[in-house]
């Protein structure tokens, strides 16, 4: 998986959590809902923002694909298959 996808995933995930958890201390294999109290709406927001930040079209995924992403590693691997290896856009202001 491209390293920038994991970095962006950690940052975006940390940003949507209701409590402070540093991006670097997130466990990639922890259940996002059970361990980090990620609500279903925050998950939708997290994935929308992450796709925008990494330049991955959300339309690569179905609603069922999203439901099956339970850990950060599931997310980074899924996006990694579609992310450009370098020069992915990082701006969040283009929406």
């Amino acid at each position: 998986m491209p390293a920038d996808v994991e970095t962006a995933a950690r940052e975006q995930f940390s940003a949507v959590l209701t409590r402070d958890v540093a991006p670097a201390s997130l466990d990639l294999d922890a259940d996002m809902a059970g361990s980090y109290a990620l609500t279903s709406l925050n998950k939708v927001l997290f994935l929308t923002e992450l796709c925008e930040a990494t330049g991955v079209d959300l339309a690569h995924f179905t609603e069922e694909d999203l439901a099956e992403m339970r850990t950060l590693r599931d997310v980074t691997e899924a996006l990694g298959r579609h992310a450009a290896p370098a020069s992915a856009p990082t701006s969040n202001h283009g929406a």
Binding site: A15, R19, E63, A95
Partner: protein, 510 residues
């Protein structure tokens, strides 16, 4: 009776607007006139499948155009719908038998007699999809006020969901009352992403057909992405959605580092055409409501239960901070001596549950359909309703003073260092708070400062004597939050029983 609303869906002539349906794959848009044509084709197919007036079809699927078509087709035939939320129900023959469903439409994997894939509905709606001539539809039906159009299911915390048949009169009354205050019309685009199994979400499709505005229906998962594409004028959401959007806007502002304004970032999330944001169904935090007002996006909170439909609503012409708005036409708010709110409707949603345990209906419904809400509230001199909490959130002190805990808990939770606050009264004399910190490493100084600020803002009997800081914070995993992220009071008290009852423990008020 419903000649201005349900009775006019199929007789009012072509509406000028469009319906857009958004999923992660993209958005498809068709004119509302075409929506009606397709719904009538689906109605013909239902008729051909043996569905008759009064029969019930079930829909267990994510939001989609086919969901809307089935709902309208059922209305066209005067059949009932049962809106079943995916995740809460499994598509099966047992489900059909339990709820007397003639045909069950689903987008879930299922195979049993009477279960129809949603994909088949798309084919039914196509212009030349039928191999044989289809039956001719009868004239559009007349709806009497007491006719049931759909069954809603209430999400009780335990046991099987109860059913509640929604009457045509209640839908008619609500659609007219909402239109009177919001005046939706051409140029508006109402954005819906909550499940269509919730009847109120379908109101906005009916409203589009009746009032000629656009409506965008999104899947839950595509909500944020679709918002950016749709540029709606109105967004329908629960407070949790707007809390999430608030955090998104705040994160964007931080990343922008002062180069962007709050209004610009809010527009980046909601689009640049917002007329107002609609919220209700659960209490909204004043901090969230104030945030969107500051961002230039008016947000209007209302009040209602499944059993009452929309009772009160703030709106552009009558809005008061802290209230849930004035009472809608056709609704009557009654407040008893204990401050408990009941609601009487000219056209009640119903006067009983179905598929419920004995006694369930009697606990909520009076003989005339008046609903005992269990909420505490009061009306001000101008008729604005203020909800103070649940009747079972009241603590009675030994001096007889009743303390409503929710407003005090909200004051504590307004601090960014505090994620949750639950009040207890171990000795019937003083209040003890258990606070769940926002960070793993609790900011004890901020909690102490918030305790002092809260005590300065409340009456003497409402002051908190001590704060016990939860370690670790409440979570679903440790059993102290519900799956809806609400604190579980009894479990929290059990977990922190010793600290709550030990006068030496915690941060003490000064």
């Amino acid at each position: 009776m419903t000649g201005d609303t349900l009775g006019r869906l199929f007789t009012g002539g072509p509406a000028p607007g469009h319906i857009a349906v958004a999923s992660l794959l993209g958005t498809q848009s068709i004119p509302l006139a075409e929506l009606v044509v397709r719904a009538e084709r689906v109605a013909q197919r239902l008729l051909a499948q043996g569905v008759r007036p009064g029969d019930r079809i079930g829909i267990l699927a994510a939001n989609s155009l086919e969901w809307v078509l089935l709902d309208l087709a059922a209305l066209r035939l005067k059949a009932e719908t049962a809106g079943l939320e995916p995740g809460k129900f499994e598509a099966s023959r047992a489900l059909m038998d339990r709820y007397a469903i003639t045909l069950l439409f689903t987008d879930r994997p299922a195979d049993a007699p009477g279960i129809v894939p949603m994909a088949e509905v798309a084919a039914w709606a196509a212009p030349d999809g039928a191999a044989e001539p289809l039956p001719v539809l009868p004239p559009p039906p007349d709806w009497a006020a007491g006719d049931v159009t759909t069954v809603k299911f209430t999400s009780g915390s335990t046991g099987e969901p109860k059913g509640l048949g929604a009457t045509a009169g209640s839908i008619d009354s609500s659609l007219l009352a909402v239109q009177e205050i919001f005046e939706h019309g051409p140029g508006d685009d109402l954005f819906v992403f909550l499940p269509l199994s919730l009847l109120q979400q379908r109101y906005w499709v009916y409203s589009a057909l009746l009032n000629g505005h656009d409506v965008t229906v999104s899947t839950y998962e595509a909500a944020f992405a679709a918002l950016r594409r749709a540029r709606p004028t109105v967004v329908m959401g629960v407070p949790a959605f707007f809390e999430t959007a608030k955090r998104q806007i705040e994160a964007r502002l931080r990343r922008a580092g002062g180069d962007r304004t709050l209004a610009e970032e809010a527009q980046a999330v909601f689009g640049d055409r917002i007329r107002y944001l609609w919220t209700g169904s659960a209490p909204a935090a004043p901090s969230m409501l104030g945030f969107f007002a500051d961002a230039g996006l008016p947000i209007y909170e209302g009040y209602g239960l499944n059993e009452t439909c929309i009772v009160t609503k703030n709106h552009p012409k009558a809005h008061r901070d802290g209230s849930v708005g004035q009472v809608l036409r056709g609704k009557h708010v009654l407040i008893d001596a204990d401050g408990v709110v009941s609601v009487r409707s000219d056209h009640p949603v119903n006067d009983h549950y179905i598929y419920a345990k004995p006694g369930d209906s009697e606990r909520i419904f009076g003989p005339d359909g008046t609903v005992r809400t269990g909420d505490l509230g009061y009306l001000d001199d101008d008729g604005f309703l203020f909800i103070r909490g649940r009747a079972d959130d009241v603590i009675v002190l030994d001096n007889g003073k009743k303390v409503v805990v929710r407003p005090i808990e909200e004051l504590m939770k307004a601090d960014p260092a505090i994620a949750e606050c639950v009040l207890f009264c171990p000795g019937q004399t003083d209040l003890v708070a258990v606070v769940s910190p926002a960070a793993e490493a609790a900011d004890l100084g901020a909690v102490a400062a918030r305790l002092a600020a809260t005590n300065a803002a409340v009456a003497a009997d409402e002051r908190i004597s001590r704060v016990v800081v939860a370690d670790p914070p409440f979570s679903i995993g440790n059993g102290l939050l519900t799956s809806q992220y609400k604190p579980k009071r009894q479990q929290i008290l059990a977990a922190y029983h010793d600290a709550v009852h030990d006068p030496e423990e915690g941060i003490h008020a000064r």
